[in-house]
């Protein structure tokens, strides 16, 4: 997040893209992703929202995955060459390429989810995940019996600080004595290693271990099932996987955002500029606290904790409590 987009949900509106609503019904919109969807629930959800909007608003939608950054840039350029009416992309990985391509094609509308590109023909949508992970940390601090909680993280990179440091702040807030263990898997696709790390943290006494290792989280869940500790998922409500052990999930509304973006484009009220989504805008959240879950609440967390965390959430929303953005020290 940059300073100028603290004003949440605002829209420094420039002109509407001219070809918006009144033309032929089939507009073509592309969602160009910098990675393969496979490994990332974040993209799965986005893709779902995107497709759903395509159906509902009669827009031709096409999702394009990329194998690597260079391929991504080429895909992005190709969608321009292939004349899509609007091009949506996502994440900081797309940032550089979009900056180049959008600047070279000033008449083409673009949107980017999860990071900011400051160009007149780009709409940016970002999340304040650290607010959600703050809540997760807070819930963990309130629930732990051993005063040790863990987190299994994909790689040691700035991006994941949004998860680790928000969590640490929240934990400290509700339980200053709790110790936090962090281990890094070293990759996004290694459940076996993630499981091993979770088992290690468990053996050190952690009774709640949050997953933040993309697909590796499944390994963490499995460890939880085997050893009977508690864990949480990321991005979508995956408590359904194993409600007895996966007791919380940190949420990120990428589907909503993708849906809304296509919708606004189809309805002709597409606006450029930066928008950001946090707890207040309901763009991120935590199961039971900001949104209900299909799975029943696990007694390890308990309603009392949920209520306390809800209060914390309200404080954040009201601005009484400020969660530090780990990427903007």
């Amino acid at each position: 997040g940059k300073k100028e987009n603290n004003t949440a949900g605002n829209s420094t509106n420039t002109s509407n893209s001219g070809n918006a609503s009144e033309q032929a019904p089939t507009k073509k919109v592309a969602l160009v992703l910098p990675e393969k969807i496979g490994v990332n629930a974040f993209f799965v959800q986005m893709d779902e929202g995107f497709k759903k909007a395509g159906k509902e608003f009669n827009v031709e939608v096409k999702t394009i995955e990329s194998t690597d950054p260079a391929a991504f840039e080429q895909n992005l350029r190709s969608t321009v060459a292939e004349n899509y009416d609007m091009i949506i992309t996502a994440t900081f990985q797309a940032e550089d390429a979009l900056k180049k391509v959008a600047a070279e094609n000033p008449d083409k509308p673009f949107a980017i989810i999860d990071t900011v590109v400051d160009l007149p023909n780009v709409r940016s949508v970002v999340f304040r995940e650290y607010e959600a992970s703050y809540l997760l940390g807070a819930a963990a601090g309130l629930s732990t019996k051993t005063n040790k909680v863990g987190m299994v993280v994909a790689i040691d990179a700035p991006l994941l600080k949004k998860y680790t440091e928000g969590f640490a702040q929240g934990l400290k807030y509700t339980n200053p004595n709790a110790e936090m263990l962090i281990n890094y898997v070293g990759g996004f696709t290694d459940p076996a290693k993630a499981k091993e790390l979770a088992l290690l943290q468990f053996s050190k006494g952690a009774d709640f271990i949050a997953g933040a290792s993309a697909v590796g989280d499944l390994g963490v869940f499995e460890a939880a099932k085997e050893k009977g500790f508690y864990t949480s998922g990321q991005d979508i409500d995956n408590t359904g996987v194993d409600p007895e052990h996966v007791v919380l999930a940190q949420l990120k509304g990428t589907d909503t955002v993708a849906y809304e973006t296509v919708k606004s484009f189809a309805e002709g009220n597409f606006a450029y500029g930066a928008v950001d989504y946090g707890l207040k805008e309901d763009g991120v959240g935590l199961t039971y606290v900001t949104r209900d879950s299909q799975s029943p609440l696990n007694p390890f967390i308990g309603q009392a904790t949920v209520d306390k965390v809800k209060a914390i959430k309200d404080d954040i929303v009201s601005g009484k409590l400020v969660v530090k953005n780990p990427l903007n020290p």
């Binding site: 997040g1 940059k2 393969k36 096409k62 394009i64 995955e65 990329s66 194998t67 690597d68 950054p69 260079a70 391929a71 840039e73 080429q74 895909n75 350029r77 190709s78 969608t79 060459a81 292939e82 900081f92 990985q93 940032e95 550089d96 070279e104 094609n105 990071t115 900011v116 970002v126 790689i155 040691d156 990179a157 700035p158 991006l159 949004k162 990427l327 903007n328």
Partner: protein, 319 residues
């Protein structure tokens, strides 16, 4: 069938896609040339990935932090890329020459070390703190230091010229110069080379430096021509290093052949992307097709090669 025609279109369908393919081929050619040189000299350098990463990183750092006019920083950055790749590669060569540590293993291991090291630098001390700051990456390089694009609005950049020039130069060097000759003989039979007065140690060092230098240059060119910063993982995930090695092997370590084979591999890759964009065929299948085609081509090539060798042998001793 539609898949193949889309593949063709995705790779060569229009001028735009041709330039796409060529820019994809650029780092592959350079890495391939490095591998060619090393293989020709008899050294199985599998460390292109690490060399490329360090080359790219160094180029980015020079471009970012050395003062001076743009062209000067650009050249310094390219040189730094070559040097970093070369030194890293020479390190493996040195361990082999000095301590008889198998080059194949050391170069593989050094890949991991280089990529973790680079990962550390861009995640901590050299991290880009502007923008969203979420990435393990350096700051964006100033536009004056970018490798110029060859055509407005297309991804092809001057690195491609460098790569083609490199291929031609390496070809001439191997074929016509004394040290090229000595390098080839060293690869053919090191004992023969030693007997004839070729200094293995020196030549090994030089050819490893040059080989790593090419890989480093590949990294530098990719950073200065496409990414404009060093971004963690951006040089390793596309598998440039393995593609380059594959190109070399496909071409039987011939420099011009390597360039050609690199183009072929790049075309398969961009073609695959085209297939994914324009048909219902998912990306995975595109990569399956790509792998299958490569298998087919390699089998075919070696078959032709064997046949030709036989034919030559038969014509061999008539005189």
């Amino acid at each position: 069938m539609e898949t193949y025609s889309e593949m063709w279109k995705g790779a060569f369908g229009s001028f735009y896609f041709v330039t796409n393919t060529l820019s994809r081929a650029t780092p592959i050619i350079l890495v391939g040339l490095g591998a060619t040189l090393a293989f020709r000299a008899g050294f199985f350098n599998l460390g292109a990935e690490g060399q490329m990463i360090l080359g790219g990183l160094s180029a980015a750092l020079i471009a970012l932090y050395v003062p001076g006019p743009g062209w000067y920083r650009l050249i310094m950055a390219l040189v730094a890329g070559i040097l970093a790749g070369g030194i890293w590669s020479a390190f493996a060569g040195w361990m082999d020459a000095k301590f008889r540590m198998n080059l194949l293993i050391t170069t593989l291991l050094l890949n991991y070390i280089a990529s973790l090291f680079a990962g550390y630098l861009v995640a901590y001390p050299l991290k880009d703190t502007s923008g969203s700051a979420a990435m393990s990456q350096t700051k964006m390089i100033d536009q004056s230091v970018w490798l110029p694009k060859l055509f407005q609005g297309m991804s092809l950049h001057a690195g491609f010229i460098i790569a083609i020039l490199g291929a031609v130069l390496l070809y001439l060097y191997m074929k016509y110069t004394v040290s090229g000759y000595e390098t080839r003989m060293l690869g053919n039979n090191p004992l023969f080379a030693a007997y004839g007065g070729v200094q293995r140690g020196k030549l090994m060092l030089y050819s490893m430096i040059a080989s790593g230098g090419f890989a480093g240059l590949a990294g530098a060119v990719e950073v200065l021509g496409t990414q404009y910063r060093y971004l963690d993982g951006s040089l390793s995930t596309p598998g440039y290093a393995w593609s380059g090695i594959m190109a070399t092997l496909l071409a039987g370590s011939h420099p011009l052949g390597t360039a050609f084979a690199s183009l072929l591999l790049a075309a398969l890759q961009t073609g695959g992307m085209g297939v994914e964009r324009n048909t219902e065929v998912p990306l995975e299948i595109a990569s399956v097709i790509q792998a299958t085609l490569i298998l087919f081509v390699s089998a075919k090539l070696s078959y032709v090669f064997l046949k030709r060798r036989k034919a030559r042998a038969q014509g061999g001793t008539i005189a």
